[in-house]
């Protein structure tokens, strides 16, 4: 019961607070909050919206997991953005160039993406471990370099092909695509949604059931105590960042293997930063991140629906921003409240045991 309160109450409070804030913003701009709310809810049942939400949610989920791995060790991998884009680009080039049997082709593309993401993050990891360069700075810089590198890679005279006004990589043959689940007019669910769920499960398992997860959390909590306990801090930094990069490498794949089949100049950007917000929203917990990712995707879709009824779509940005801020604040408020409650509880408990001990001491002497 207490657990439910500490875990679920803060995000619920945060969402209510963010909704109120948006309502105020809507009232000021002369729109009806109730209309907006109705539109946001009814849109879910229309067309492909529900499936779209789950599809984007899966992308955000993978990105947030990548961020969360770093967060466990107090490492801030801002470079998810560059890692996933470069990984998707290289994976698309490799996937488009190869001719392999189905399944194997797909697997190769996934592995290439993970390896590229890991390698790109590995640069930041080595700089951090051996030269003490802050991973925040180096990953931001690597994001810019990745953008340049991608532009070079998909030039028609490198690996790209000109398609109308757009430049893209060579399309991936159906053998390399990841088949989805079709809901007819309801849209097609990316097959990678299942992979995202498996990643979440793996993240949970790694963190709570393995030596690596323990060492990761110990290093995050107290690097000095971890060192004294035989954890190699340098190794942990490298592994954590590389692993984060490998997961980040998969962020672009649901769309690449389920919808686009090629990396283009106009391939979506910004998932890496969304991932940071979602990881914060989900407090690094695999289930929390999943809910956060779905909420974020739902709000994204609401922007379109709101636009259709003339409510400014920017209201969604206000909602997203305020929900992240208020989650952070709400957890703090609930934490303090719980601390006070715990104090009262333990004080009462210790008084009882102290009395019992005194009685026992009397018997013993």
């Amino acid at each position: 019961m207490r657990r439910i309160r500490t875990v679920l109450l803060p995000p619920a409070l945060a969402i209510v607070f963010a909704a109120l804030l948006c309502a105020v913003a809507l009232l000021i701009s002369g729109d009806s909050p109730l209309t907006a709310l109705r539109v946001m809810i009814t849109q879910v049942g229309e067309g492909t919206t529900a499936v779209d939400i789950v599809n984007s949610g899966a992308v955000y989920y993978i990105a947030a997991l990548a961020v969360a791995i770093g967060f466990q060790m107090k490492l801030f991998n801002i470079g998810i953005e560059g890692q996933y884009r470069l990984a998707a680009c290289v994976a698309a080039i490799v996937g488009g160039a190869l001719v392999l049997p189905p399944v194997v082709h797909t697997l190769v593309i996934i592995v290439v993406a993970a390896v590229v993401g890991a390698a790109w993050a590995g640069i930041a990891a080595l700089l951090k471990a051996y030269r003490g360069v802050s991973e925040v700075i180096s990953t931001i810089m690597l994001n810019f370099i990745a953008t340049g590198l991608i532009a070079f890679l998909i030039k028609p005279d490198s690996f790209g092909v000109l398609q109308g006004n757009n430049i893209s990589t060579a399309p991936i043959e159906p053998s390399g695509q990841f088949p989805g689940i079709s809901f007819g007019s309801g849209g097609t669910l990316f097959g990678m949604v299942g992979v995202a769920a498996l990643l979440g499960l793996g993240y949970w398992f790694l963190l709570n059931r393995t030596r690596f997860g323990f060492e990761l959390k110990a290093s995050g909590e107290s690097p000095t105590a971890a060192t004294a306990g035989g954890v190699d801090a340098r190794r942990m930094v490298i592994i954590a960042l590389v692993l984060s990069g490998a997961v980040a490498g998969l962020v672009g794949l649901p769309e690449l293997l389920g919808r686009d089949f090629a990396y283009t100049l106009t391939s979506p950007q910004g998932y890496g930063f969304t991932g940071i917000a979602v990881a914060l929203l989900g407090r690094n917990h695999p289930l929390g991140i999943a809910l956060g990712a779905l909420l974020w995707a739902f709000l994204d879709k609401s922007a379109l629906a709101l636009d259709n009824v003339g409510v400014p779509r920017e209201i969604v940005l206000i909602m997203q921003g305020s929900v992240v801020l208020s989650v952070v604040i709400a957890y703090e408020i609930v934490r303090r409240y719980e601390l006070a409650a715990e104090q009262r509880r333990v004080a009462a408990q210790l008084r009882d045991t102290a009395a019992a001990e005194k009685a026992a001491e009397k018997v013993a002497s």
Partner: protein, 514 residues
């Protein structure tokens, strides 16, 4: 400063303070007369530190009142306390090594007399009061521990303190320096300063205090008259039971070598004098080798180098015939070294993790915590069971093994750490200040466990600033000075004073310490 005719300089009434997991202070009363040295005794975890933090405004009491010179006051922060004339000298000095003595004193107090001639004159006056003889322009990093302490005292006096809280001021001093400190306190007492003196060392308390307040388990037990009370009676008031002694009975030393360290060297990062130079030592099964030394003479570095946390620049470390000179910390632990670090909060525990997760630290690769395998699966049920064993065997007082380690008092945390490091049949235990900041009850428990392990054939490398503990537990004592082992002593014959002299380098090869 308005001094009224009130009887007490400081009076605490009915102070209660609760933390998660502990009632640190429970209706405590403390009355300190003006111009006296008032000692506050109690086990660690009894609530002394909390009480002093409340008096110094670092924490707010849940209940109770503080009066200064008869007026009820409410301190929201240490600056309120300083304004009321109360200053605190912390156990761990808070000085900037790279600034001069004068700069350290003036830092944050520039508004009082500026930083010019007036300030210099005031510092000179205060230096005379506390007997500081070094040039105020000297860098603090060049000062010895006793002088640093004087600088700390001047710092609080400069800010206008008439009542000074001294938190375990003798813990870092050798016996000769303690005598000097006491002389200073006596002179200052005559000048009308009031001292609140916190200490574990009961002989010292009796030597310096005009009155004593004892607290136990967060409650004030009563006051004692130092003229008539014995150390034993005091200790019994503190513990509520018999006084433990660190003495080991029969020698259990064997001729089987467990640890052999040869020519160990550690270079300083700045390239100055090496931190460790030519360290040779051997610890046998069933032997406790004690290292005596003033803090900062390389004991920490020695321990961390043997543990592989620091990389030796030369020399070998051999454990039971296996060369570990280039092994990682984890490999050394797996080879059978248990390690009780000197600072448990920084190096020993994961404060927000439950006790059973703390049991895994350092053992994450071994049964019972690990199931092994490629993934290194953890056996959480076994870790939990084994934590329950430690809690029972080592008398760790906790509601359950699921509470975070931070909820435990210092003594109980330490018992958990010692219990953990004695798990899995180590062949060598490196114990750095194993009973520092631990109450008398827990201290006795830890000594007893060390003795039992020694009898089973464990080799122990003991580092301690508590000379009684060192002499009482050790089979052999080596003295460490400026990164080298400079002398041996026989614990059967050596006195704390002899050891103190050897530790400061004042000893010129006199009898007991050679």
């Amino acid at each position: 400063m308005a001094t009224s005719a009130a009887e007490y300089a400081v009076e605490l009434t009915g102070i209660t303070k609760r933390f998660p997991g502990v009632v640190a202070n429970d209706d405590i009363h403390l009355a300190v007369r003006r111009g006296e040295v008032h000692a506050l005794c109690g086990e660690n975890g009894a609530g002394k530190s909390t009480l002093m933090k409340i008096l110094y405004g670092m924490q707010q009491p849940d209940e109770g009142t503080i009066s200064v010179d008869g007026h009820v006051v409410r301190f929201r922060s240490p600056s309120d306390a300083i304004r009321a004339g109360i200053g605190m000298v912390h156990q761990h000095f808070m000085l900037a090594d790279n600034l001069t003595v004068a700069e350290n004193i003036l830092l944050g107090a520039e508004a009082m007399l500026g930083i010019g001639g007036a300030a210099r004159r005031r510092i000179a006056e205060l230096a005379a009061t506390v007997g500081l003889e070094v040039d105020p322009r000297a860098l603090v990093e060049r000062l010895g521990v006793a002088d640093r302490q004087r600088v700390e005292i001047i710092k609080v006096l400069y800010r206008g303190a008439r009542t000074v809280i001294l938190d375990e001021p003798t813990a870092v001093l050798v016996p000769q320096e303690v005598d000097e400190l006491f002389d200073t306190l006596r002179t200052m007492r005559a000048d009308g300063f009031t001292f609140l003196f916190i200490s574990h060392k009961l002989d010292e308390v009796r030597a310096i205090a005009d009155s004593i307040t004892v607290i136990r388990r967060g409650m004030s037990v009563g006051t004692a008259d130092p003229a008539s009370v014995t150390s034993r009676q005091l200790a019994e008031m503190m513990v509520g039971s018999e006084l433990p002694s660190p003495e080991t009975r029969d020698s259990t030393v064997t001729d089987r070598e467990v640890l052999r360290v040869e020519g160990l060297e550690l270079q300083a990062e700045s390239g100055a004098r090496p931190l460790l130079a030519g360290i040779d030592l051997v610890v046998h099964a069933g032997e406790v080798l004690g290292i005596a030394g003033v803090e900062g003479n390389g004991q920490t570095e020695l321990v961390e180098t043997i543990m592989g946390i620091r990389r030796a620049s030369a020399g070998t470390v051999v454990l039971a015939g296996t060369d570990l000179s280039h092994a990682s910390t984890l490999e050394r632990r797996e080879a059978g070294i248990g390690y009780v670090p000197e600072d448990r909060t920084r190096h020993g525990i994961l404060a927000s993790q439950p006790l059973w997760a703390n049991r895994m630290l350092g053992y994450q690769s071994r049964p019972p915590v690990s199931r092994g395998g490629l993934l290194g699966l953890l056996d959480r049920a076994a870790a939990r069971r084994d934590t329950e064993r430690i809690v029972a065997e080592f008398d760790v007082r906790t509601p359950s093994v699921d509470v975070p380690a931070a909820a435990l008092s210092g003594g109980n945390q330490q018992k958990l750490v010692v219990g953990r490091e004695l798990s899995g049949d180590p062949v060598l235990l490196i114990a750095s200040h194993p009973t520092r900041g631990v109450d008398v009850g827990a201290q006795a428990g830890i000594w007893e466990e060390l003795r039992k392990a020694r009898a089973r054939g464990l080799a122990v490398l003991l580092i301690s600033a508590d000379l009684d503990e060192l002499i009482g537990l050790s089979d052999t004592i080596k003295v460490m000075l400026r990164g080298a082992l400079v002398a041996d002593a026989d614990p059967a014959t050596v006195t704390p004073e002899d050891l103190g002299a050897a530790m400061t380098g004042a000893d010129d090869g006199r009898g007991a310490v050679a």
